[in-house]
């Protein structure tokens, strides 16, 4: 990855690089000046007006803007990957300007600088300013913040970017990762890991040991931490917990997210899923309400019924987008497509008012996943197990709930 730098010393590396052409990165501008053959260079940072120096004095001057040099070295040497989702995500982690993001503006001048940086990062693509409130930090601000650690949230993950060497930062960052619920925990109380593959196992089951087929369900167990990860390791770990979220987030930032709406995805299906495009429009709405809201999935739903026909259900607020109905939704849609092909009937049955209300409470408790929380002796809760057993004993016959169909010939 060290395409920008062959030298292990940031200043040497920068001097070697500028011999090949201009350097412009995160506010640092250094370029050869074509006024004779004495090897003069023009240097500029947001805090240093453009001045020219000979090669011998340049080295000393660069020491005074060391934070810009080590910052350049980390991003161009260690991270590399210009234009990749990996790089954009790591920059987001420390609130560095990322393509498509607004920048904190101490002055108009630095905003211009940051925007210019963003443009360069995007290989000439003009930045698209988003309405997102998380504003980026310039190098000096980041320098301070990285000593303490910069925290960001990604679904149920809390990520901290920090300098390896806090006293004399050399630009090298490491990353810590844990569950948002553990943000205030002492690391000593957590299981600490450093192998990204461990994240795969952590993300496989929930707190109760049940399989999590949907990786972005808000059921990630807590109690663990990864510490001292490299940038690559962080991206790999996040990719195990929330696969493909970084890639789609990056595409969205570039304005290139390829959304497949419900009908496109449904009509593409074959085999046993061929039926899903028969799911009625209303049922798609109910399905999104059942499966895709924030309480069930942390991805922010960007797909609609079809282009120009939006679903009423809220898409959610997550940082990473959902670009098409997932395999779980497609599998669920198959079930509902089959169930929705049945004809509605009228049933007549005897229930007290409380029993009727209890049916609602039961459905609600299951839908909210709170049956485990209902206390054994809480007979006041309609979804209490004894209450449910009593209702079954009273109102069920051998075929289930006792009721008469109307009309009877059905």
């Amino acid at each position: 990855m060290a395409d920008a730098t062959d030298s292990s010393d940031p200043v040497d590396a920068l001097l070697a690089t500028v011999d090949d052409g201009d350097v412009a990165f995160d506010g640092l501008r250094l370029e050869p000046v074509a006024d004779g053959d004495d090897g003069r260079f023009a240097l500029e940072t947001p805090t240093l007006d453009r001045s020219t120096f000979g090669r011998s004095e340049l080295r000393d001057v660069l020491e005074t803007v060391e934070e810009y040099v080590t910052n350049w070295y980390y991003w161009q040497g260690d991270v590399g990957g210009e234009g990749t989702a990996r790089r954009a995500f790591l920059r987001w982690c420390e609130r560095a300007p990322v393509v498509g993001e607004a920048v904190t503006a101490p002055s108009a001048e630095t905003t211009l600088e940051a925007n210019r940086t963003a443009r360069e990062t995007a290989n000439g693509t003009a930045p698209e300013t988003t309405a997102e409130a998380d504003q980026s930090l310039q190098v000096p601000q980041r320098q301070d913040a990285l000593r303490d650690g910069i925290d960001r949230e990604w679904g149920q993950l809390c990520i901290t970017a920090r300098f390896v060497d806090v006293d004399e930062p050399d630009g090298v960052r490491v990353y810590d990762l844990w569950h948002v619920d553990d943000a205030d925990s002492d690391v000593a109380d957590l299981e600490v890991y450093d192998d990204p593959r461990t994240a795969r196992e952590i993300a496989t089951t929930d707190e109760d040991g049940r399989y999590r087929p949907l990786k972005t369900a808000p059921t990630l167990p807590s109690g663990w931490a990864f510490t001292g990860l490299s940038g690559d390791e962080l991206v790999e770990t996040v990719g195990s917990v929330y696969p493909a979220t970084i890639a789609n987030w990056h595409r969205e930032r570039l304005g290139e997210l390829d959304v497949d709406h419900w009908l496109e995805t449904a009509e593409r299906q074959t085999g046993i899923y061929d039926v899903v495009d028969e799911l009625p429009r209303d049922a798609v709405e109910w399905m999104a309400d059942a499966c895709c809201v924030d309480s069930q999935c942390l991805r922010r739903r960007e797909w609609e019924y079809e282009e120009g026909d939006e679903l009423d259900v809220d898409g959610g607020d997550g940082p990473f987008p959902c670009r098409e109905p997932c395999s779980l939704v497609v599998a669920a849609a198959r079930k509902w497509a089959i169930l929705e092909s049945e004809t509605e009937r009228t049933y007549e049955l005897e229930l007290t008012t409380s029993e009727f209300n209890q049916l609602g409470e039961l459905i609600d408790a299951v839908a909210e996943g709170r049956t485990d929380e209902i206390r054994e002796a809480d007979l006041g809760d309609g979804a209490n197990r004894y209450r449910a057993r009593y209702l079954r004993a009273k109102r069920f016959d051998d075929d289930g709930l006792e009721a008469r169909k109307r009309p009877e010939e059905y």
Partner: protein, 304 residues
Amino acid sequence: MQALVVAAHGSHLNPDASDPTYAHADAIRETGAFDEVREAFWKEEPHFREVIRTLESEEVFVVPLFISEGYFTEQVIPRELRLEGWDPEQWDSDGTSATEVTLSVGDANKTVHYCGPVGTHDAMTDVIVGRAERVTEDPDVGEGFGLAVVGHGTERNENSAKAIEYHTDRIRERDRFDEVQALFMDEEPEVDDVTDFFESEDVVVVPLFVADGYHTQEDIPEDMGLTDDFRLGWDVPAAVDGHRIWYAGAVGTEDLMADVVLERAADAGAELGDAIEIVRAGAGGSVTEPADVDGTAGTTKTGD
């Protein structure tokens, strides 16, 4: 840069279904032959649909961890990967001879080498034999033994049976086992009647499945009469109608499967260095031991 994608079915219901996929991908990661190695699934994440975009490599080798050419390898995976201009005819296969097609994809600027499934590769024959060696704990197993290769089989797709028969024929030609027979769950000859097809007292039964699950841990053991209830487990070997049945469990859990994945990628032009040698040298076990018969492994029915 070159990347490997191991494309597998996965499951919404059973977390064990993807264990072999991860294990083989990890073994390949260890060799360092690919800049990136990624698992992708039909029923888990990342989905086939979104795996290509997670890669930085321009050159991507996709190896389906499936047993036969058919619905998944010909329709589902190419469609979900957005392989441009894909047509099963491009494999020019007789049902077991697909190797590789080079195509572009609709959602990224990359070259994808779409490989034939692992199940039909010649190297798979060695994995089946290796599985028989492991379950009998005899590296020279053959003489005095019958070998049954068991497949799902389906009337809907003749290639499903072809893959099983292909390896059965190849093992028979080696003249190592006294008898070699292909058996199926859903078509004749059926695995239920396994003892009818062998004179040998000892019969090794190797299911040509990618992962242990409902079929290999519930259906087949009960259908063969190894046990009345899969939850109670079974003996290896188990006595059935005067025969000793050495039931091996899914061949896909064998370490050597990583070698087959690599062979597929190598056939498609991947530069592997000494990765194949490393994987072969390291293959000395399986994701789940064939003797793991306490009935607790993979007992949940996988979804489609």
